[in-house]
Amino acid sequence: MTGLPLTPSQTVGPFLSIALPWPDGPTVVPEDTPGAITITGRLLDGEGAPVPDALIETWQADPDGRFDHPDDPRGAPGAGTAFRGFGRCPTGPDGSYHIVTLRPGALPSPDGGREAPHLDVSVFARGLLDRVVTRIYFSDEEEANADDPVLSAITDPARRGTLIAAAGADDKSRFQFTIRLQGEHETVFFDV
């Protein structure tokens, strides 16, 4: 163990959109994939104003709760289940973003419990000197959410509610997830 000193973070600045967005960034899976869901929302600042120069990134398990990654001790997902798991979307002039993906499965946690289906989210923006990290859970997973160790650690129901994407009233494949960086109803952010 050499203990090399770490490289510190700096802001993405106002011009990230020349480099980081990809044409297929928001589509973790093609929109016509069976079972695809769309998560939409806005990124808002401390005055409730849209943040138009940000990037939202998501990372998640596949629908079976698997990761195609060497550090997942359960091994690789089954053949034919290739899934990028990663999404990225710049915010628009109204602070909006969208991600088209498949619902992640539940996960075992190291302490023997279970994590409810969720996406990890990174937010990058001008004015953020480091990314902020949050999670998207799903409003129609009440039972799994009740047992989730991360959600359970948040005692204030209003704070916990900031992490739960609301299913559309008519279209159950559409979810709404607003991210408030600061102030009233501020989203819960995590130190991972």
Partner: protein, 245 residues
């Protein structure tokens, strides 16, 4: 709702990553005005590193062409400015190389202007320079870009505010925990002491780690100056951090 719920295998043992303290800039850094309405007011909640955090995407394949690493050959003509190469290794703090990981860069042109609609600095655009590059690290974690040295540019943070010349870097590493976006600077820039973004890093020694090193041996005769800059991402928990002193 899953038909095959994964059952927790006995003794699910995952790697764990160090959590740097006092390394990154505080999100609320008043000297950088744009933090005022964007920095969360609540401290982040520490959560265990589970499967989602210790894994991450494998990106790059099919997304990066060899030419993407040479920002001087992306147009019909050559960009104006001082041609340079920038190389280094992506490592973790355990000293392990991180191979096959995507590195994305963006920067201003030699005159200090970005190819971006919002950049209204009255300096010339260069039709032969987009200022965007990407590559994937090799088996030793090494990346290399050929580009031109970016210019300093003014911004409106405070009167007579200028950013030191820099290249933005985006790194993924191998896990969600390691994701990092930062900026690389050039040696001996007179603007360092005036820049609230550079100085937002609390530890002056840590700031120095964002400054690349000029290397005559990486400099190609009659062609391009060479700079070297290594990037160190979070390693395993238990590493004794200089920052924790």
């Amino acid at each position: 709702m899953t038909t095959h719920p994964p059952s927790p295998p006995a003794g699910l043992i995952l790697p764990s990553y160090e959590r740097p303290r006092g390394l990154h800039p505080p999100l609320d850094s008043p000297g950088y005005r744009s933090t005022a309405l964007r920095a969360p007011s609540q401290p982040p909640l520490m959560i265990p590193q589970g499967l989602t955090e210790i894994t991450g995407p494998a990106l790059g394949e099919g997304r990066v062409a060899p030419a993407d690493a040479d920002l001087t050959t992306q147009h019909a003509g050559e960009p104006l400015g001082e041609r340079i190469s920038v190389t280094g290794r992506v490592l973790d703090s355990d000293g392990r190389a991180i191979p096959d990981t995507l590195v994305e860069v963006w920067q201003a042109n030699a005159a200090g202007r970005y190819q971006h609609v919002v950049d209204n600095h009255p300096a010339p655009l260069d039709p032969n320079f987009s200022g965007v590059g990407r590559c994937v690290t090799d088996s030793e974690g090494r990346y290399r870009f050929v580009t031109i040295k970016p210019g300093a540019y003014p911004w409106r943070n405070h009167p007579n505010a200028w950013r030191p010349a820099h290249i933005h870097f985006s790194l993924f590493g191998r896990a969600f925990t390691q994701r990092l976006v930062t900026q690389m600077y050039f040696p001996d820039d007179p603007l360092f002491e005036y820049d609230p973004i550079f100085n937002s890093i609390p530890d002056p020694q840590a700031r120095q780690r964002l400054i690349s090193r000029f290397d005559i041996n990486l400099t190609e005769p009659d062609w391009a100056l060479g700079y070297e800059w290594d990037i160190v991402l979070r390693g395993s928990a238990g590493t004794v951090l200089e920052e924790q002193r």
